[in-house]
């Protein structure tokens, strides 16, 4: 871009130029925007229904009820403490899948806005991540309350809980950023992602224990990071057992690398998105 001789006169402005037109890093102002927009969206969502934010709680309970009826009552597949078992698997899975499903189309979906004002595009998926994480944290606290009432005690292993939550947050954010970065170029991909997520849902061990799988398939089963994470949650919350540290470390490492890559990718295409999408 800086090629013609006319530019030499403006060398002292190069720095400002690069700040304004090249890097556009996330600043304090953008972080403020992400959180305020997430807060405003949550309010707006709540205003759309009569029961408003109660739906964030009712919705997971209803889906839990559906799976309980199907698996515990109809198929008689329920094991001991099946309700807490199912609940832990479902809500953590829903945090994962909701964030990805909502977040992956955010860059593609904000064409109008990004042609009116310049924003680092990473702001768009971040808003959804904050929203879904907030909803999850309410539901998660309620599930913890339920577990204590049900009779599970708080054990030492609870110390590992923030770590597991953190790793899942990292994993979810990395995947959401990555898909949000790609989908403006390949809009058809979003349907494939939705179907794949539904498939993985049945393979993640939300209704069954990983140990019940034939040994020769176990390595495939645990190649899915969500299967490992959900098992870790259950071990901590129900059995006061420590998580699988090694697996957790590997997921954390890959997620961190993926997150960095996806963040850079979105930054790289910052000025390409308004062009790709406007037609």
């Amino acid at each position: 871009m800086l090629a013609s001789p006319n530019d030499t006169i403006c060398l002292n402005n190069l720095n400002q130029l690069s700040i304004l037109f090249r890097k556009m890093p996330i600043t304090q102002r953008h972080i403020e925007l992400i959180f305020f927009k997430a807060y405003a969206n949550l309010r707006s969502e709540a205003a759309r229904t009569y029961l408003s934010f109660m739906w964030w709680i009712i919705d997971p309970i209803l889906s839990m009820a559906v799976y309980y009826v199907v698996f515990a009552l109809l198929f008689q597949r329920g094991t001991q403490d099946y309700v807490p078992f199912l609940l832990i698997g479902l809500i953590t899975w829903q945090w994962f899948t909701n964030t990805i499903n909502h977040g992956m189309t955010t860059i593609q979906g904000n064409t109008k806005l990004m042609n009116q004002v310049h924003l680092p595009k990473v702001v768009f998926p971040s808003i959804v991540i904050v929203m879904d994480t907030f909803k999850f944290s309410i539901v998660f606290l309620l599930v913890l309350l339920f577990l204590w009432v049900y009779g599970f005690d708080v054990g030492v292993a609870y110390l590992a809980l923030p770590l597991i939550l953190g790793v899942q947050f990292l994993l979810t954010t990395a995947l959401t950023y990555l898909l949000a970065a790609i989908i403006p170029f390949l809009p058809d991909f979003q349907f494939l992602v939705k179907t794949t997520l539904r498939l993985i849902f049945f393979l993640t061990g939300i209704f069954f224990e990983g140990s019940k799988i034939p040994p020769k398939y176990q390595s495939y089963f645990y190649a899915n990071p969500m299967a490992t994470l959900i098992e870790d949650y259950r071990n901590v919350l129900m059995h006061n057992m420590w998580p699988d540290w090694q697996a957790l470390g590997i997921i954390c490492l890959y997620s961190a690398i993926g997150l960095y890559g996806a963040y850079r990718l979105i930054g790289r295409f910052d000025y390409v998105y308004p062009r790709v999408i406007m037609q």
Binding site: N6, N13, F21, E32, F36, L113, Q116, V117, R275
Partner: protein, 241 residues
């Protein structure tokens, strides 16, 4: 056109700027569309620069370029560290939220901090004449009320360089008069403004300098009268064909 000298008053400078985008035709086929081919001009502090050209000349793309939304493919665009902003009305409005929330949100999207907007909130609401309704959701507003709020936000939150695309007056008849009046006042003040229009009347009335763009190429830059003269001449000969 001469090469710009070192001029402290220069805020933005464009040299041989080109920009294209792709029109998707099918999965494997896309068509290249050159919106801007060769644009050069300077914008100086405190002036009102009019950009004139027929529909499809690339005026809107040029505004986006000046607003920092897109970057040129070729050529250089030098910004001397000024904050530019398109005069966008009702940016990011959410009908479910109150006018107050929308004002803050819209302002934050336009590049201001929450604090900066809150300091001006009183003026924004007062100018829009929405004191009684500001806590109501925007979905209950009439389109005129919405337009008033949108205009008031954009008008009160001032970037260094304001980029305006045609629209100057919004809302019902009374507010139209009021918004046009304050806009004119702002344009004629010491504010740096770029105004895009296809009408020579608007540019003649409001701008001290003008640039004429035709098919993505700068055809003339200079005093409003001179530029408009060649533009109108062009239109006349063009109509003969």
């Amino acid at each position: 056109m001469s090469v710009a000298n070192i001029d402290n008053n220069m805020v933005i400078s464009l040299r041989n700027v080109a920009f294209h985008f792709w029109l998707k035709k099918s999965l494997f086929r896309k068509e290249r569309f050159a919106a801007l081919k060769d644009i050069s001009f300077d914008l100086f502090h405190g002036e009102s620069l009019g950009i004139i050209g027929r529909n499809g000349a690339g005026k809107t793309t040029l505004l986006r370029l000046l607003g920092g939304i897109i970057r040129p493919d070729k050529g250089t665009l030098i910004n001397n560290g000024v904050k530019t902003s398109l005069l966008s009305l009702q940016v990011g409005f959410d009908p479910q939220l109150s006018g107050l929330y929308n004002a803050i949100l819209s302002g934050m999207l336009l590049g201001f901090t929450k604090k900066e907007i809150e300091d001006k909130l009183y003026d924004i609401v007062k100018f829009a004449e929405l004191e009684e309704f500001i806590d109501q959701p925007v979905r209950t507003y009439s389109s005129g009320m919405r337009a008033r709020l949108g205009f008031s936000i954009a008008f009160h939150l001032d970037p260094d360089v304001l980029l305006i695309d045609e629209v100057l007056a919004v809302g019902d008849a009374d507010f139209k008069k009021k918004s046009l009046a304050v806009m004119k006042e702002k344009i004629q003040s010491n504010k740096t403004i770029v105004l895009v229009s296809h009408s020579s009347g608007t540019i003649r009335q409001l701008c001290n300098r003008a640039v004429w763009i035709e098919e993505g190429i700068t055809r003339a830059e200079g005093d409003t009268e001179d530029v408009l003269h060649v533009y109108e001449e062009f239109l006349r000969t063009f109509k003969h064909y």
